[in-house]
Amino acid sequence: MEEKPGIARVKIFRFNPTADKEPRFESYEVPPEGWSGVKIIDTIRYIYENFAPGLSFREPCRQQLCGACAVMVNSQIVLSCDALSEKEMTIEPVPKHRVLKDLIVDLSEEKI
């Protein structure tokens, strides 16, 4: 018999520099439809829709083309629209960039 996928435990980095003193991790228990056989971006969206409506993340193209949805998952940098979700995940912003909010970092081309 195939093992049932069960509940995934997903920890996500949360930080709003304009309101929070320090970053924190929040944990979410995600049922199979939110993680099993889907991309990490789908799990992040599942958490946003069901548990964390204030979660900030990028997801413009979902086709491994634009690169905006990069995050660090279990210490590896991945495109969240590319890699599949796992049962234990710690999702953080990509390192070496200033965090603007939660999983969004400053990848700015901005010039004013």
């Binding site: 946003y48 409506p53 979902r62 083309l65 905006a68 901005e110």
Partner: protein, 581 residues
């Protein structure tokens, strides 16, 4: 930089460009090259938002490098016939001429194309009379366009503000004086004062359940223009791409196009039949996008579809060594990704199917890219008139962006010099600020994404590839239910102004509801079949009654629909037309 006595930051620019990708970037670059002061704002990141970066295997230009018989006149004819004579011919004339200079210019800006000596290799795709499609290396045009614009932004030191969501155009005595927006990055309200505003915000492909386009394509710019009093046109026409990857799901759709266009892939149904001849006896596997999409859709209605509602494409009919040579010459990233999951295009078929791909309709413009509202221009997919009832295959979308961007950029750099900044109507600013603030306080109710989800299903079921009066009325009723029951309860659960996805989605959902209703109402009005608009209850093209564009503008509390004759300069439909599909 925020002023103490005001709740918003005021930013002045000669030309404000809303949207940073192909159309907007090109307009900004051309205007700056003439010395204009330009500011580009985008709701995402430059080069990492919108549809340009996702553009695929081709871009059209009437260069005649592979066949000297091709020229702007032939290109013009193909576009008008493809659009079933609803195009604005003055606009198309300007665009095809500019294709000859503005597409090759992309090479000097850093894009790389397949070449044969100093000639561009050009392929003939469905709908083109001669080889016309240039092939960006690797079939990932978007990466080349992004690089090209980036080099120019750098050269010109272009001013860009990212993560700026524009929620309203500002008017002064009926003239556009700028725009109101919110900086998602910093949380402030922004008032842009501009002598000229150029919309380059793309289409609204997100109104459909299945789409291969960017999640950004929610038609915001269409509603900005409509709400301000501009006209929209041809909203019943939406294009569906027949080769979106259904398995693996929604990945690199444009690259499946490469298999079709450059390897003549064959389509099969679940019974292994090459079924397209049933619907398209002449063109078969080489049909245009919409009829091919419709054929796949209908095969599924007859129970002969693939597991996820699509069909199969395969290239395994080709000799092994030919495929090897092709793969060597065209290192598609799709192929290496497929190999990783044990999929071999030499043997296996991909499951593909239709997905909403492009919005033919949009803001009504003239051949100078001017809208009806003074000082408001529109370029690229947000505009209408270049495509008529159907955008032709083969990659004219980026060509249109370049041509329109050129026209708008050059023109506004001159006209804006003669203008002064119009005063800001503080009442409008206050209203819009209050709208955002009250949304941020409404934490319970229906969320934007829930409304979007409902809209997408309604539109996919009853107003996509195959339409009839009954289904369209059903769609209209369901959309009305959303308007009456859900929209008043729309909420934003989180009250932060920083990167508040719920806030953006609340606006987007409202925009998508308006655009869906326009699409359905225009589709009900148009009692005929014309290209992408396919009515089973009116299966014939009716040039007597419907050689017309449907124009939509905002009335008091309702949408107003009128018709007008298309701008025709030199090509009229023949008495008897051969129409396939």
């Amino acid at each position: 930089m925020s002023s103490e006595n005001r709740a918003w930051q005021e930013i002045k620019t000669q030309i404000l460009v809303i949207g940073s990708e192909a159309g907007g970037a090109k307009a900004a670059i051309e205007a700056q090259d003439e010395g204009a002061d330009v500011l580009v704002v985008t709701k995402g990141l430059v080069g990492k938002s919108g549809n340009t970066v996702m553009a695929g295997a081709g871009i059209q230009a009437a260069l005649g490098h592979m066949d000297p018989r091709d020229n702007p006149d032939v290109f013009f004819e193909d576009v008008i016939k493809g659009g079933a004579y609803l195009n604005n011919q003055k606009l198309v004339e300007a665009l095809v001429k500019l294709s000859v200079t503005e597409v090759p210019k992309m090479e000097t800006w850093g894009a790389k194309f397949l070449k044969d000596g100093d000639k561009f290799v050009q392929y003939q795709l469905p709908g083109s009379s001669y080889p016309r499609t240039l092939n960006p290396i690797g079939h990932r045009g978007g990466l080349h366009w992004r690089r090209a614009f980036k080099t120019q932004f750098k050269r010109l030191n272009t001013k860009v503000m990212e993560d700026v969501f524009i929620t309203r155009l500002l008017l002064s005595d009926g003239q556009v004086s700028g725009a109101f927006g919110i900086s998602l990055r910093y949380g402030q309200f922004l008032v842009f004062r501009a002598k000229i505003t150029i919309l380059a915000t793309g289409g609204c492909t997100q109104i459909y359940r299945k789409t291969d386009g960017s999640i950004d394509a929610t038609g915001d710019g269409l509603i900005l223009a409509y709400d301000a009093g501009a006209e929209l046109m041809d909203m019943e026409f939406h294009q569906f791409f027949p080769m979106a990857c259904y398995t693996p799901p929604f990945e690199m759709h444009q690259q499946t196009g490469a298999l079709r266009y450059y390897l003549h892939a064959k389509f099969y149904n679940a019974l292994g039949e090459e079924f397209l001849g049933r619907y398209l006896p002449l063109s078969k596997d080489w049909g245009l996008r919409d009829p091919t999409s419709r054929a796949i859709y209908l095969e599924n209605k007859h129970g002969r579809g693939s597991p996820h509602g699509g069909a199969y494409i395969a290239v395994n009919h080709l000799p092994h060594n030919l495929l090897e040579e092709w793969v060597k010459k065209h290192p598609l990233s799709l192929l290496s990704r497929l190999e990783k999951i044990g999929f071999d295009i030499r043997k296996d078929a991909l499951e593909v199917g239709p997905a909403s791909h492009y919005t033919m309709g949009g803001v009504r413009i003239n051949e100078n890219c001017e809208t009806k509202l003074p000082h408001l221009y529109a370029v690229g997919e947000v505009a209408s008139g270049m495509d008529g009832a159907e955008r032709i295959d083969g990659g004219p979308a980026i060509t249109w962006c370049l041509s329109m961007g050129y026209i708008a950029g050059k023109r506004t750099s001159k006209t804006s010099g003669e203008l002064d900044w119009l005063p800001v109507d503080r009442e409008q600013v206050r209203e819009e600020q209050e709208k955002v603030n009250s949304l941020l306080k409404k934490n319970n109710g229906v969320r934007g994404f829930e409304i979007k989800d409902k809209i997408k299903d309604i539109m996919w079921e009853d107003c996509a590839l195959v339409r009839d009066g009954k289904g369209l009325k059903n769609a209209l009723n369901l959309l009305q239910d959303i308007r009456n029951n859900d929209l008043p309860r729309i909420c934003v659960p989180d009250s932060s102004r920083i990167f508040n996805k719920g806030l953006v989605e609340a606006y987007e959902a409202t925009n998508m509801l308006d655009l869906s209703e326009m699409t359905v109402r225009a589709a009900i009005m148009r009692e005929e079949t014309r290209k992408s608009h396919f009515r089973t209850d009116f299966p014939k093209r009716d040039n007597k009654k419907w050689l017309k564009n449907i124009i939509i503008r905002k009335g008091k509390g309702k949408m107003l629909f009128t018709t007008t004759s298309p701008v025709m300069t030199r090509l009229t439909p023949p008495e008897e037309e051969e129409v396939e599909g």
